[in-house]
Symmetry: C2
Subunit: 230 residues, 2 copies
């Protein structure tokens, strides 16, 4: 039994890799993570045209939840669904937005999947921040510059203050989780005109925000922020 966990990129189907496209075409079953049953999946929209027409689509629910006990139960249940399905089909694909190694839903259930005796292969994808930088025509890093990638935490500052102080280039992932802290720190470090926020990079719905007033208290989900000091 083998599961390919595939990053399908930030949103445009041409940013899918040749490897991901091939595996999706060969997979008899494709697992699609959703927050609630029947929810529209952005990963599925991106991957759809590469998925084998005869493949079965299996939704896996990952409810928003911060209780570790419930999360572990949910992950175990999903892993059992995957294993039972793969016992029939031998192989399958699990799709996530962006890169499977960066903040992806899949990595949370990786241990549970392996505990079910399933072999796993990770298939990397284009990250949202590589796409954002390429759309803006900016390097994420060059020469001896560093790049910090930090999540906008719900509960903590994740030292955003320190990160903005030390790094030349900063990516804030999931900025919708804490707009107040981000705006506060942009102002503190005089970076009000040094950021770009992109919503759904590379899709038809893409929007770019570069004014601080536009993001105060209202950063949309599925956006990524890039801060460059020069």
């Amino acid at each position: 039994m083998k599961l390919y966990s595939i990053g399908v990129g930030p949103g445009n189907k041409e940013d899918v890799t040749v490897r991901a496209a091939r595996i999706l075409g060969e997979s008899p079953v494709v697992f699609v993570p959703v927050k609630k049953p029947g929810e529209k999946s952005f990963a599925y929209e991106i991957a759809r045209e590469y998925i084998n027409e005869e493949a079965e689509i299996v939704e896996l629910c990952f409810p928003m939840n911060y209780d570790m006990e419930e999360l572990n139960r949910n992950w175990k249940e999903n892993a059992v669904i995957v294993r039972e399905k793969l016992e029939e089909t031998e192989t399958g694909a699990f799709i996530v937005i962006g890169d499977v190694t960066m903040y992806s839903t899949y990595m949370y259930i990786d241990d549970a999947i392996k505990a079910e005796g399933v072999e796993v292969e990770l298939v990397p994808g284009i990250t949202s921040y590589s796409k954002v930088a390429s759309l803006l025509g900016l390097p994420l890093a060059k020469w001896e510059e560093g790049l910090a990638i930090v999540p906008a935490s719900r509960d903590s500052d994740f030292d955003l203050d320190e990160i903005f102080e030390k790094f030349q280039n900063i990516v804030v992932m999931k900025p919708s989780h804490n707009p107040d802290n981000i705006v506060k720190n942009l102002k503190k470090h005089n970076l009000e005109d040094k950021f770009s926020l992109i919503y759904k990079a590379g899709t038809e719905e893409q929007k770019v925000y570069t004014k601080i007033e536009e993001i105060e208290n209202k950063i949309p989900y599925l956006s990524t922020m890039l801060v460059k000091k020069k």
Copy 2:
């Protein structure tokens, strides 16, 4: 006149994106950066099968050099070569390993290319560190973890000490540039068994190093280091 600057990924041709493959198939000219004339190009090896059979391949020399005046002259010369060629062909592709936005040769000549009146579109690619993490089956970051990506500098410490102190996950790019500083800091922070170094990730020549003795004074070019504290 339009130039597509394309990241062709870390080394395996299946890690090229559908977009990159399509543009390479349509480009009448492909610019290949090399250190000296006639040098074998890894980017070209990766991209070769997608390049239009009738396309002209134009080598652009970027000698190893740290004199800004000479660099600027070299970049200007290369930009003129690109512009003159695109005046004939209208469009062309410039290929680099990995992602075009991360430490790529292309971004150095971006200004000079634009100064020649050439329109540029950046095409993102899979980074070496996404590939390394996927091959190791490890997340680069999850939950509220951050990720620091830092170059191994020739002349400075780039605060590797501080980075190893503060971040859960660290990628060291171009580690061949300063093995001594890396080894020293791995030891200082008791990270001797928390790193993986991969040479030519995803290719037939791939090698993985996880023992500190193996990397003392001799980290190979085209390798990437991933450090994960847990």
